[in-house]
Subunit: 217 residues, 2 copies
């Protein structure tokens, strides 16, 4: 499996959730796959001080910050071609709901970054699996609408997914939802109270489910 992984920055409150991002890469590697990291070349909605939770008077670029998790090996998402990869995967973090779409501010009325929407649509059209962790299933539901996903068991987010046209199924750690029609695999991760080992397990389950969809065992 050659996976494309999309990061929303670097840090749970304004970017990609770092543990989920790293465990996604680890899961791909330990299951015999390879990965290429991507991020949109846009400015972050804001920069959050991760100790105080306050907005900082700074501006940072999503692609440049995501490169920290990627150790520099990352491409702008405009370079993504669905034909070149076997799967497209979104770790979570508030950045997904702030930088990739506006769900954190607008709820189900949210807008999606054009390049993000195109990446999801082209992957879906070419019949390749999409994986989404934590809050990312909301983004997938916003773009594909009629899709079955899990974000764990948060009732507000689950209701929003219904409003978007999707279906939500409650899940615990280690349990994924596999939408076989749409080839979408989702898992709760930090949408549930979690240890880092549970994040590793959820990411691993998503990658194994994607491998199964691809016919690799």
């Amino acid at each position: 499996m050659k996976a494309a992984v999309v990061l929303a920055g670097c840090g749970v409150y304004d970017g990609a959730e770092i543990h989920e991002a790293v465990m996604t890469l680890y899961a791909i590697d330990r299951n015999g796959g390879t990965y290429q990291l991507f991020a949109p070349n846009v400015m972050q909605h804001h920069v959050i001080n991760h100790i105080t939770g306050e907005v900082m008077k700074e501006s940072r670029n999503v692609l440049t910050e995501a490169a920290r998790i990627a150790r520099g090996k990352i491409l702008a998402l405009t370079e993504y071609r669905a034909a070149d990869y076997d799967a497209l995967i979104f770790p979570g973090g508030f950045g997904v709901a702030k930088n990739l779409c506006t769900y954190a501010f607008d709820g189900p009325e949210c807008h999606v970054d054009r390049v993000i929407e195109e990446a999801i649509r082209s992957t879906h059209k070419t019949g390749k699996p999409i994986g989404a962790l934590c809050i990312s299933p909301v983004l997938i539901a916003r773009v594909l609408r009629d899709v079955t996903v899990t974000i764990g068991s948060d009732t507000t987010t689950a209701a929003d997914i219904k409003t978007l046209g999707g279906k939500h199924e409650n899940r615990q750690h280690g349990e994924v939802v596999v939408d076989r029609k749409n080839l979408v695999v989702t898992a709760p991760c930090y949408m549930l109270g979690s240890t880092i080992s549970e994040i590793a397990r959820d990411a691993d389950e998503v990658i194994r489910a994607i491998k199964e969809l691809l016919g690799e065992k």
Copy 2:
């Protein structure tokens, strides 16, 4: 095991190496331990654009940036008391050689941040194990001098460790050096060409060796 983990920021080129940091936390958790993250409350030496490698016209705080990896749950290193923890662990990243000490600029003549030096000395004095990944063994050698460590097989760094008064032993991935006299455990990680699974393995080996030193099997 209740471990204290010290981060040097957030990003391989100016802070903590993110994969090593996350895999250290994962190794502690999967081996039945708990962790508290720490970082010095000092400004980073500089901020590096992780795509271009260039210095950015910004300034960032080591503790504030490390909080991204910690999901906000982090303390200033001045709060560290060796008596409260079973082990002190340093993941790698250039931040160790730029923010915790000046090895990246001054080689064996480097200075060590006072709070970092005190944390290492107090842990050593109270007979508790210290773990160090990647480039961090240089920091330990700079403070403790007569200590046996590995940074993999890089000849320049190995020679610098000798100059500092330490002993270097070459190691491959999955192999640690355990200095039983000083209770120091070290592993190469990204000082060798590495996959993320190898980082996970090295971190796990370090934590298992520390558990063994602590008499936990």
